[in-house]
Homo-oligomer: 188 residues x 4
DNA sequence: CATGAATGAGGCTTCATTCAT
DNA sequence: CATGAATGAAGCCTCATTCAT
């Protein structure tokens, strides 16, 4: 199976899947995704062998995009506090700007269709973020805890904050900042 | 009077649904749930009008049980720190003891099948926990933030911690304690 | 299977079936019929071995009642024209007074659940009416045609007239009379 | 372009539905209809959105075919008596030639699944026949009655005659003719 | 015998996937 | 390779009938 011809179609399908899954969850029919992408239902299966395949690829793609957004433009020469703040802010800004991506990711994250490999890959993708946190907590109260645990905690806080920011956009920045201060009180 | 509708069966169905949904997600067939409960598939529908109905009732039931576990035995005459610690510990202990309940709850929480009323009811059920948090943060750094936001943060931290406790049961207590200390650093 | 205890229940079930079938057709659930009769669904099956059994008995009962209504009070000493008019008028009056009975009968008449025996019995029940028609057409233009055919024709005309009377009750009597005149022009 | 939706399949489904419904009534399973048509059960639903949809389309199709058969070749320059006789003869010939169509139509005509629109359309389809009858009764004894009533009467007579012709095919023509004479005595 | 829950076959419809065009 | 009809396995739910109370 060589690379399919058009990358546009692949992207359109991913985007459509994101939108549809955000609203309908993983039960969304492939036909609906195809239609939303302006593509025939049969065509979907030349780009993805199976629905689960689409789901897994989407999971990794969204996770990658999220990590990239978080780490984009982190000032290399700044202190760890500033770097982490930058990451946090950009992360939540991305999630707030693309709520469907975030919601789709939430669905995918707990799906039985996402393989262990994908989950593992997801972790690797977040390695950059984890590294920042590693340095952040180096001398803080959680310096003894497993890094993965600290990352998980941060994830949980981020998810909660994002939800709240989406629900109450007027004060989004304020919430983001308050949550970061909380986070820093934990690790820093 | 005919054979009365048995509470045992209802409970068996709920328990079966919990187990199956924890593994398969909400796509789990009603027939499989019925079978797991040792009941004919038709019978399921004398206890729940529809699959969505079952899901909603399960959501509320699990949430109620979770809140009850968290609040059970909170020492009325103790200080707020001790009370909150008690709540936190019992909450996570419950979630760790019944990982399928927790996992099912995670699936249900983001399902489109759960009605706004159920979600609202879920919030009301957690009111006791929220009240504890209210007092905890009274003089702390988050005293200005909306209570709902603080609750959401705590929820996110709890979820993350629970996941980690389940994945690494050997050090479960340690993680629970570390997370509580983190929480307290945020609110207290 | 001895006679069931209560005739009231049997009658209530028949009446309920009539009403429900008139509206919903033969697809109507037995449970709905039972409920309409104020009887438990299980009970229905102590009065009728099977749904088809209920249907057949209902068919015969309604047909019997219809024939009785048609022939009730036919003046024995009157001429054939007057007798037939009496029959016709009473027949249509009954059908108009009990539209559900008539509608149920229409459903039953073409059902595959009605056995050949029941159909045959139905014919026998209409024998009295047929006899009147026999004499009516004795010297008329249809004197050579099979009696059954003439009866069928009259049935068809009656059905059509009834429908029209129900749809346009204001002029019901007028329609009944007009149709009778038409009938008489055919047979008399 | 993919395999185009085939008119053959649609027709095969209609024909299969006609045959099955004639025998089993409207309770006939869609799966059985599909099988009889030599088509997968899923395929039925690419041609008809729903079972009720199939039923309604079939109703209109059969009614249309029946009306077309009745009016086909009516001699434009003949007198009204001859024209009406032509219509009547062809109508009954069609019904006798395709008893399943006629039987299916009988089932459909009283079904609750047939919408008011379909019924209305059915009337419009029979308008040509009604017009003939309008002229037939112009100076006859039923000249004052509502046309719809006269049409209904004729319908009833036709139905009865058809039944009889099918049951006694040897004398079908004779019955058809006798019934027409009866009809003419009513309207002409 | 009345009741109504229990049963499980079966109906309608959906949907992932395949395949003819 | 795109298209969208074809396929048939499920899925949810209904319902006639049975059976425990």
């Amino acid at each position: 199976m060589a690379r399919p011809r058009s990358d546009d179609r692949r992207i359109a399908l991913m985007a459509a899947a994101t939108r549809i899954i955000a609203v309908q969850g993983l039960g969304a029919p492939t036909a609906m995704i195809a239609k939303e992408a302006g593509v025939s239902n049969g065509s979907l299966f030349t780009y993805f062998e199976t629905k689960a395949d689409l789901l897994n690829q989407l999971y990794i793609e969204l996770k990658t995009e999220m990590a990239a957004a978080a780490l984009d433009g982190v000032p290399a020469d700044a202190g760890i506090h500033e770097q982490t703040l930058h990451m946090w802010t950009h992360w939540l800004a991305w999630a707030t700007a693309y709520p469907e991506k975030r919601r789709a990711l939430a669905h995918l994250g707990i799906s039985a269709d996402i393989t262990a490999e994908s989950l593992e890959a997801g972790h690797r993708i977040m390695a950059g973020v984890a590294r920042l946190l590693e340095r952040s907590r180096e001398t803080g109260p959680m310096r003894e805890a497993p890094l993965a645990f600290v990352v998980a905690l941060m994830n949980g806080m981020a998810d909660a904050t994002i939800d709240f920011m989406i629900r109450d956009p007027a004060n989004a920045d304020q919430h983001s900042q308050a949550a970061f201060e909380a986070l820093w009180r934990i690790v820093g």
